[in-house]
Amino acid sequence: MKSLEELKALREKMRSQIDNRSVAGADETVIKVGMATCGIAAGARPVLDALLDEADKRQLHSVSISQTGCIGLCRLEPIVEVFKDGQKYTYVLMTPEKARRMIAEHVVNGNPVQEFLIGEN
């Protein structure tokens, strides 16, 4: 069973790593998932989990993933906003699979997935 003692050991291990990561900064990508009642009911949680899992698997340290409230277009939820290279991209009607593809093609390779963007729907 996991105990808080293990967490202490983990902290010691992490201390040495933390400095290397905070270097990123400037070219950071910010990803926000709408997590109000509308988003949650439409399935935003699995989408958020997929994004976190994919970012973790690919060791994307310059990506910050967070949640936000109602973005205002409830019928297009789950909505994911990506802020990258000074631009905002709004992905709509997302699923965990689409989210993984978006990470691979847009966040990693720099090509927005046009067919998932709001303008295309």
């Binding site: 808080l4 967490l7 109000a36 009911a41 967070s66 205002g72």
Partner: protein, 183 residues
């Protein structure tokens, strides 16, 4: 909503929007009396008597994007449709408490769902807020207090992948195992 855990996430988001420093979530279940209670307390901005009267009306909301607010009405419905009950109390400047009680065996009771995932998401996505989560089922009890965890971690943030991985296991073994898939 297809899982009570998602309702919990939604209600906890209200607490965060109210600027809560500490959100207390407790799940209590007793199979002998076929009763389950979900309770969320916060020390956020609270609301006045007039708002409190209207808050379970779906056409009342604090958000500006549209005039419909389904969070509390859906949570209330989820409890009352099982023959349980719902209550909310609040004091301006002090905080808000929401409590829903369910008949566990009622055919209309939604499954609890991925409570562990919801708890992990709440605590990792809102590092500025503290959470006290307790799960009690048939006399067994599990607790997660982010104040304790932050004290141990010091300057290391809660959303680091390694910390998330630890928390995920910790939640599964210390909170979810208490009711172990029976809810």
């Amino acid at each position: 909503m297809r899982e009570l855990a998602l309702n919990i996430l939604d209600i906890a988001e209200n607490s965060l929007a109210a600027g809560a420093k500490l959100v207390t979530l407790s799940l209590w279940a007793d199979f002998a009396s076929d009763t389950m209670r979900i309770r969320i307390d916060d020390d956020g901005c609270g609301m006045d008597e007039e708002t409190l009267q209207k808050v379970t009306d779906p056409f009342t909301t604090s958000r500006k994007t549209r005039s419909v607010g389904m969070g509390l009405p859906l949570f209330k419905y989820s409890a009352e449709s099982t023959g349980g009950c719902f209550s909310i109390s609040s004091e301006k400047g002090k905080g808000t408490s929401v409590c829903a009680e369910y008949r566990i065996g009622h055919i209309d009771r939604m499954p609890l769902g991925d409570l562990g995932g919801v708890v992990l998401q709440m605590i990792a996505m809102n590092p500025q807020t503290d959470f006290l989560v307790t799960v009690e089922c048939d006399g067994k009890k599990g607790v997660l207090d982010t104040r304790e965890i932050k004290e141990i971690l010091g300057e290391i943030p809660l959303d680091m992948p390694e910390v998330r991985a630890f928390l995920k296991d910790y939640i599964r073994e210390n909170l979810v195992s208490i009711y172990g898939g029976r809810l």
